[in-house]
Amino acid sequence: MLAILAQSADATVFLPPARSTIAGAHDGLYHFVFWMSVFFTALIAGLLVYFCIKYHRKSHHEVPDGPTHSTAIELGWTLPPLILVLVIFTWGFRGFMNMNQAPNGAYQVLVHATKWNWAFTYAGGENDSELHVPVNTPISLVLTSGDVIHSFYVPVFRVKKDVVPGRYNKAWFQATEVGTYDLFCAEYCGTSHSQMKTKVVVETMEDWLKHVEERGRWWDGKKPAEVGAEVHAQKGCKTCHSLDGTRGTGPSWKDVFGSERKFTSGDPVVADENYIRDSILNPGHHVVEGFDNVMPTFQGSIKDPEITGVIEFLKSISANYKGLVLEEPMTATGLPGTDETETKE
């Protein structure tokens, strides 16, 4: 109980901190309805207890005789609730319209949801697994799904919008304070629904510009296998594919490269570079025996240097691969001299 009361200073007992321009209006209505509810609950419960004491039955021979109806009283207690709910409706509708309509000139971010991963794309095509936004800037979101329905939810912004396959849903917000906040999937989407969470990082404009620029070449200067390991951790691969041989929703990545893969249909294939690339971009093409066809495609949300990184990473953790793993750091544009035949024995 103490832990509940000892929340951070600007959070109330009931609400999380308010960190967007629309949060204040939401919280105002929330508190109005809250105190109205407290009033009516206290009134009803108070009368309940009072009547139980005052009119407590003393003998079963009592035959009380009170009023049985009164149209005036009925109308009297119908009107105040009616007026109250109309006020609340109007207030809620106005708040909703403000939430719904992004201001002109808002900066657009594409949000792509798949089981069980969030992928964000900035205006220059830079990919990110966390949503980085500049503070005090209106951000509009275009939400798409690669498989089932998800829902974009950031409690401190009071923003939620379903991500529906086959539709472009939109949402917007303007963050008011620098900080790192939780972003949840709010619509049940299967096994790891509760793991489908990431962070919203609100930064100063300066920091944000720097971050986006870095995201456009984040693999620059890193060894390919390191890039692959980061892709595994950040793009949601780890939700289904373990690195230690444990079976998950998908097969473990350990010892895959160079092994013979058996499929639910079609002939077996030895896992090589083409097989890995194909499995990332067309996952339904070859479904490994004993697993279900549930993986979404990463077409459009993964860059070629990142795929190269994954391939080298897989080589580095496979006992079935006897060749060398690329050690040379990658460059911003990808990987010059990536002709893999040169590095293989």
Binding site: H26, V63, V85
Partner: protein, 572 residues
């Protein structure tokens, strides 16, 4: 099909059937139950099965709350096996309790038991159809049991597409089960509508009907009109899963939000299938235990009808975040608020019934009081969710979970248990232990509020629903909630123990232990197979003065002279 009154059999007075037989002991053997067309026996068969479903669905609730408690206390990441297990637990918890318990509980158990009795009738209008409805329930239940042993179910009870069209769990079997259970509901509703229209005794106009019957009538209309939409929706889902006809799955050219419209077109009115008959029970309890004419009879009756009709027009409020147009959202929000008015009217009328009453805090009345507390909180938190901007924040969080548990479980369950205690003496001819019943009431009331009130806070803070895992700041709410659920469960087991114990050791029940005047109290406890050995005297259901307390039988006895006098007075 008229009111059955056999003057030859009516040789013995006092409502006792010849030879002391009643509907329970007048024939023996399993076939005498499985082939019975007696509404009371069908009610009892429903009781055993539906309570079994309650135990099963409740076990899943305890399981998932325990998993959340363990999760709250644990440092290590949650395994995928545990996530799957949690998803299956909340799905089966919801699906079993909604389709197999909450929807049938009051109409099929208590409605079947007392609706014909309240009309002074021998049975429902279509007794064989009534038995068929029970077999439909059993058929649907078998499909659900098959789901349990055949891959489980992880879609949530809402079966949202396209997840449900693509999951590898036994979604097809489960939808088939829900489809068949729907027919049980439709047949019961149809039967009740026909019975109320055709079998009211001479002298009982619509406005001399007990309010429980008004509530059952309004419920039946929803069951008959809304359930077929669910059936069609589930068939379309099966067509998509089995035949790959694109209806809801965008990969096949369908629209997933269409499914939500279809689903909630049934499932929102279904909330009123759950709570309307519960409200009917409360009206009966309030009048009886305040020993007073119910206040505002016609307002309560019409508010049931208003809720039933408006309930059809609010389904879109489940989709405020789905991307439907702002105009659609506004219309659904406004109509949603209109449901608040008839609900408030009912609560105020019940309170007014207590005013200047003679309040007897017997166990059924305690449940009625608990109902008012829980329904008030459930209703007022509905005001939060009806407001568009607040719903955007609260949708799919524990706020919604807490809200609908207060309405669907807190309100409905307390009314159901209160009604069970109220009619228990009539059903079985035995009185339960009052002290044990009161202890159990306290555990349930305290446990329920501890379990679910804390969830309003968790939800307002942003805890999403259907989460096997959560960020650490929500752990405390889950711990408290789980402890509450254990208290609640222990209270429910105590209720069950008290009921079973009373069957063997309970004091013999008088004909009318409470002094109510609806017609079921004008026959013996338990009633004979044909319900009444002589026509019960039809009078105003809430004029109670003709019943006088007799301490020697700890019950009320009907004074015919007084009744005649009161009848004369009300005609003036």
């Amino acid at each position: 099909m008229s009111v059955i009154h056999d003057p030859v059999k009516a040789g013995i007075h006092g409502g006792q059937a010849p030879g002391g037989t009643n509907y329970i002991n007048n024939s023996k053997g399993i076939l005498s139950w499985l082939l019975t067309v007696d509404h009371k026996r069908i009610g009892l068969m429903y009781m055993v099965c539906v309570l079994g479903a309650f135990l099963l669905g409740g076990s899943f609730a305890i399981m998932l709350r325990t998993m959340l408690f363990i999760r709250a206390a644990s440092e290590t990441p949650i395994s995928e096996g545990a996530q799957n297990m949690y998803n299956q637990a909340f799905t089966l918890h919801g699906a079993i309790l909604v389709f197999m318990f909450i929807i049938p509980a009051v109409p099929a158990i208590l409605g079947n038991m007392v609706l014909p009795l309240m009309l002074g009738a021998k049975d429902v209008a279509f007794p064989r159809l009534n038995l068929l409805s029970w077999y439909c329930w059993v058929g649907g239940a078998i499909f659900f049991m098959f789901v349990l042993i055949n891959g489980g179910l992880d879609t949530g009870w809402t079966f949202y597409t396209p997840y449900s069209s693509s999951t590898t769990t036994a979604a097809t079997t489960a939808t088939m089960g829900a489809f068949i259970l729907g027919f049980s509901s439709i047949l019961t509703g149809l039967n009740f509508i026909a019975t109320i229209h055709m079998l009211r005794p001479p002298g009982m106009g619509w406005f001399q009907m007990p309010l429980f019957l008004w509530a059952l009538y309004a419920t039946s209309v929803i069951q008959v009109l809304a359930t077929p939409v669910l059936a069609i929706t589930l068939l379309l889902l099966m067509a998509e899963r089995i035949l790959h006809v694109g209806i809801f799955d965008p990969a096949l050219g369908g629209d997933p939000v269409l499914f939500q419209h279809f689903f909630w077109f049934y499932s929102h009115p279904a909330v009123y299938i759950m709570v309307l008959p519960a409200m009917g029970i409360i009206s009966e309890l309030m009048s009886t235990f305040c020993r007073r004419h119910i206040f505002g009879y016609s307002f309560i009756a019409f508010s049931s009808v208003a809720i039933a009709l408006l309930g059809f027009l609010v389904w879109g409020h489940h989709m405020f975040t789905s991307g439907q147009s702002a105009m659609t959202n506004a219309v659904f929000s406004l109509i949603t608020f209109s449901v608040a008015i008839p609900s408030a009217i009912k609560v105020f009328n019940w309170l007014a019934t207590m005013y200047k009453g003679s309040i007897w805090l017997a166990t059924p009345m305690l449940y009625a009081l608990a109902f008012i507390w829980l329904f008030t909180i459930g209703g007022l938190t509905g005001v939060f969710l009806g407001a568009l901007s607040l719903d955007i924040m609260a949708h799919d969080t524990y706020f919604v979970v807490a809200h609908f548990h207060y309405v669907m479980v807190g309100s409905m369950l307390t009314a159901f248990i209160g009604g069970m205690y109220y009619w228990w003496p009539k059903m079985f001819g035995k009185m339960y232990s009052e002290p044990v019943a009161k202890v159990a009431w306290f555990l349930i009331f305290f446990g329920f509020n501890l379990t679910f009130f804390i969830q309003f806070i968790a939800g307002s803070k942003g805890m999403p629903r259907r989460y096997a895992d959560f960020v650490p700041e929500y752990a405390i709410y889950h711990e408290i909630s789980t402890i509450g659920s254990y208290v609640l469960a222990s209270g429910l087991f105590l209720v069950l123990f008290n009921w079973i114990h009373s069957l063997k050791y309970g004091r013999k029940a008088p004909q009318n232990p409470w002094g109510a005047n609806t017609l079921e109290w004008h026959t013996s406890s338990p009633p004979p197979t044909e319900n009444f050995v002589e026509d019960p005297p039809v009078s105003e259901p809430y004029v109670l003065g003709a019943w006088e307390y007799d301490a020697s039988i700890e019950g009320f006895v009907h004074n015919k002279e007084k009744a005649a006098k009161l009848a004369q007075m009300s005609h003036h």
